[in-house]
């Protein structure tokens, strides 16, 4: 019989474990409340070890999976036979205090410092866990700011400088479309500054900002535009309308880049009407009429008719002006031709296309050529005996020699040409007609007769204005007056025939009744207004502002050459500026 008593000391001194009789059985040690020695600590297993006697001694044996001693020096069993024998179980230290003569053992039990945390410390830890603290916003702000400056300011700036130096051609004044190599797109950071897509036309040098933005903090100068657009013209003659002198304006006033695939251009009707609503206010000497809106207040069209075909000058007349004269020097009426059954067969829709072929681009028609349009009817024969003889069209200086040549060959062949016989019967007392000429006489006679009849009257004169030889000039001959048929009678408009191809020719051109030349063939404003209204058009009609038909820049006027615009402070036009008739 062995009685084991437990003597708690140290931190567990308050505990009171009952003494246990150790018989054949064992004393269980663990957290199990049924144990002989119940040690409540998280490092102690539910059934941690047993105390048992073996032979003369008392042994502490660890259960399977548990151990005695420290984690650094684990043991499976420990002998507790003599006073002073000690072992460790979890944080508890068991020491044999004394062994009495009858075998009773007293074990002192104490605990190392591995205690549960106290409430106060735990609460402090939880205070930290549930604490809320703002991160270092100053640090984040600083990092963000530095990042922004580096990526969005320094990098694009360096990238653009590299591009500028790469592009040496531009410095020499010529446009260069080479891409910068230092930061080639799309890695060139210049796009980080780009306010919007660059138009297709300018995309070739889009990576090189300094191509247009030549000086920092200075708005794009017009000279940058005019370096390429050398031929762009004035809007009006500055001597007539000084206020409209474009050298007083920047291109950017109306044209905006970085607005997408096309250049955004200021073309509202209100901008035009600001001057053209009362045009004499800024141009007192102009012959232009005021205009407010195409649909409601626009002057009748005034086509430019030929004034002098030789000089190619024109004069403007109102549509419907019966006094209008067209000196194109062609004798032709549409009405006369369209009456011909050959041309005006019933059901023939392409009667116009027989002579008029659209020019490439669709704006106008190709000039009507004699060989294509006229020769099938107008054969240019001149000798009834020889219908195969033809005059050369377009070469009036060769006509006389060609005729003489035909007759010379005929004379050599012995052909006889009767004189025109005006009297069918010989009359008594009247001398008989001379015999038909032969040889040189034949050639001279027939050539003169042919020249008179063909050029002056029938063959050439039928269509052309002919000029007789000057009196007293024996070497002078019949001449064809120079012909000038403009391809466009309203050059200030942007009318495009191809855009109106869904309509028939007769819808606009009264060709069947046109017997006064161009002035009776051209449509008036009423014809256009059938479909086109002004800028504010109802849904049933087409909205048409000024820019729909008119071009702002008149390239026939003085060019805004770079030399003129280097300073771009306005001033007078150079003296070499060609005068423009504003009729």
């Amino acid at each position: 019989m062995t009685l084991v008593s437990f003597a708690p000391t140290g931190p567990v001194a308050a505990m009171a474990w009952p003494s246990v009789q150790l018989d054949q059985s064992e004393i269980a040690i663990g957290r199990n409340p049924a144990s002989g020695l119940c040690l409540l600590h998280r490092q102690i297993r539910f059934n941690h070890a047993v105390l048992r006697t073996e032979g003369a001694g008392l042994y502490l044996v660890a259960a399977e999976g548990a151990f005695l001693g420290t984690a650094a020096d684990p043991q499976q069993s420990a002998r507790l036979a003599h006073a002073g024998d000690t072992t460790q179980i979890g944080p508890f230290i068991l020491t044999v205090r004394e062994v009495t003569g009858d075998g009773n053992v007293t074990l002192s039990v104490t605990q190392t410092n591995d205690m549960e945390p106290d409430e106060g410390a735990l609460a402090q830890i939880y205070l930290r866990v549930f604490n809320v603290a703002l991160p270092n916003v100053r640090l984040w702000a600083l990092l963000l700011s530095c990042g922004l400056v580096v990526i969005f300011f320094a990098w694009p700036l360096l990238s653009m400088q590299a591009a500028k130096h790469d592009n040496g051609d531009m410095q020499r004044g010529g446009p260069s479309f080479s891409e910068p190599s230092f930061f080639p797109p799309p890695w060139g950071a210049a796009s980080l500054w780009n306010v919007g897509a660059i138009s297709r036309a300018h995309s070739g040098f889009a990576a090189n900002c300094s191509f247009c933005h030549q000086t920092p903090f200075v708005p794009v100068r017009s000279s940058a535009c005019l370096a390429c657009h050398r031929d762009i013209g004035q809007h009006a003659d500055p001597s007539v309308a000084p206020a409209a002198d474009l050298r007083l304006q920047r291109c950017e006033h109306c044209h905006h880049e970085h607005k997408g695939q096309t250049i955004a251009t200021r073309d509202s009707q209100a901008d035009c009407v600001a001057c053209h609503g009362d045009i004499r206010r800024i141009a007192p000497e102009t012959s232009l009429h005021d205009v407010l809106d195409f649909g409601t207040n626009h002057p009748q069209f005034r086509p430019a008719l030929v004034l002098d075909a030789g000089l190619r000058t024109t004069k403007r007349f109102d549509i419907g002006d019966l006094q209008a004269e067209d000196h194109s020097n062609v004798r032709f009426t549409h009405a006369g031709h369209l009456k011909l059954p050959k041309l005006n067969r019933a059901g023939r829709q392409d009667v116009c296309g027989g002579c008029h072929v659209p020019a490439p681009g669709g704006v106008t028609f190709k000039p009507v050529q004699f060989d294509d349009a006229c020769a099938s009817c107008h054969s240019l024969q001149f000798e009834p005996q020889h219908p195969e003889w033809r005059l050369p069209h377009g070469h009036p200086e060769e006509v006389a020699s060609r005729i003489a040549g035909y007759y010379a060959r005929a004379a050599l062949a012995g052909e006889v040409f009767d004189r025109p016989n005006t009297e069918p019967f010989y009359k008594p007392g009247v001398p008989p007609p001379p015999p038909p000429p032969t040889g040189t006489d034949l050639v001279t006679y027939k050539t003169e007769a042919a020249m008179m009849s063909t050029i002056a009257r029938s063959t050439c004169g039928e269509c052309h204005v002919t000029i007789p030889p000057a009196a007293g000039q024996p070497n002078d001959a019949w001449r064809i007056a120079p012909v000038f048929v403009p391809d466009r009678y309203m050059p200030s408009s942007l009318f495009r025939h191809a855009s109106h191809a869904t309509s028939t020719c007769q819808n606009c051109h009264a060709a069947a009744t046109s017997n006064l030349g161009a002035i009776s063939l051209l449509p008036g404003i009423g014809t256009c207004r059938a479909c086109h209204a002004g800028e504010a058009a109802p849904a049933s009609r087409i909205s048409s502002s000024c820019a729909s038909c008119h071009r702002f820049h008149d390239d026939s006027l003085m060019h805004l050459a770079p030399a003129d615009t280097a300073t771009f402070t306005g001033g007078r036009a150079p003296p070499s500026m060609p005068a423009k008739e504003l009729q």
Binding site: R31, Y126, F130, V132, L192, P216
Partner: protein, 289 residues
């Protein structure tokens, strides 16, 4: 005397959002409406953008608003000075929202991959975070009061510590696996909250799920074993449940406090970034004029 009587006539608490009958809300609305009208009535060449006359005007207005609104961040740290802070906060909120509209009109509703759009995006984030901050300051204080139910953070942490120790102590009486489970669950180290807990709330909270799982497993294992008597099991389950409820309350409390504070972690640095981006935007626009 007059001061006291007028002060007594004031309600105990009124939101900064309705300061002086929302006078700044009306002023900001008027400003916004004027800018929208101005934008609608212009006739720019090409698409509307910041480079037109109206665009320059709106841009200047927006830049001034940015700097004035940012100045509030300095002003709010000082006592005294011009105007009541509460009124300034009211103005800050409403003119901040108005600024968003003014800046969008200035940009002509266009966005590109450039520093100009970046400025607008930063502005949007600043305004959005500010709007959330306004919501948080309007909504969360009352939720916090309800949630705390007159407890304080200190009292709740002390209570939690007590419950922790009690759970750990009670768990010592149970077999090894249950004790380990409880000790692993009931420890300060298991309570840590991250961004996801802040953003998504309780439903996605790992701590909450761990606690629930621990209680379930304690109950299941004890029921399976039939070793422990109900008189031993009940106190542990009760304590674990109490701890779970308290933990949830403290988590909500933490989330409200965090949300009321952390939006400034976005608002303030982005405001500084916005001012820098704005400066770059202005310099760049005039550098490549």
């Amino acid at each position: 005397m007059t001061r006291f009587s007028s002060a007594a006539a004031l309600p105990i608490h009124r939101s900064f959002l309705v300061w002086r009958n929302g006078i700044y809300a009306k002023a900001a609305l008027l400003l916004t409406a004027s800018c929208i009208l101005l934008y609608a009535l212009q006739h720019p060449t090409g698409p509307a953008n910041g480079g037109t006359a109206v665009g320059y005007f709106l841009g200047t207005l927006a830049a001034i608003l940015v700097l004035w609104l940012a100045w509030f961040g300095i002003r709010r740290r000082r006592y005294g000075g011009a105007g009541q802070l509460e009124g300034l906060l009211s103005a800050h909120v409403y003119f901040g929202i108005a600024l968003m509209i003014v800046a969008t009109l200035h940009a002509g509703f266009r966005l590109h991959w450039n520093v100009h759009s970046l400025t607008l995006v930063l502005l949007s984030l600043v305004v959005a975070s500010g709007m959330f901050g306004s919501y948080a300051f309007w909504r969360y204080p009352q939720l916090m009061t309800q949630n705390r139910a007159s407890a304080t953070l200190t009292s709740m942490t002390a209570e939690l510590a007590t419950l922790d120790l009690r759970c750990r102590q009670l768990a010592l009486l149970f077999p090894d696996d249950i004790m380990s489970l409880v000790h692993e669950t009931v420890a300060p180290g298991t309570a840590h909250f991250g961004m996801a807990d802040l953003v998504w709330g309780r439903r996605h909270n790992q701590v909450h799920r761990n606690n629930l799982a621990a209680i379930a497993r304690v109950q299941t294992q004890l029921a399976d074993r039939q070793a422990a008597t109900p008189s031993e099991v009940l106190p542990l389950v009760q304590s674990l449940t109490q701890r779970l409820i308290l933990m949830e309350r403290m988590y909500r409390d933490w989330r409200y406090r965090a949300l009321m504070l952390q939006w400034r972690a976005i608002h303030v640095p982005l405001t500084i970034g916005l001012i820098v981006a704005l400066a770059i935007h202005v310099i760049v626009v005039f550098y490549d004029w």
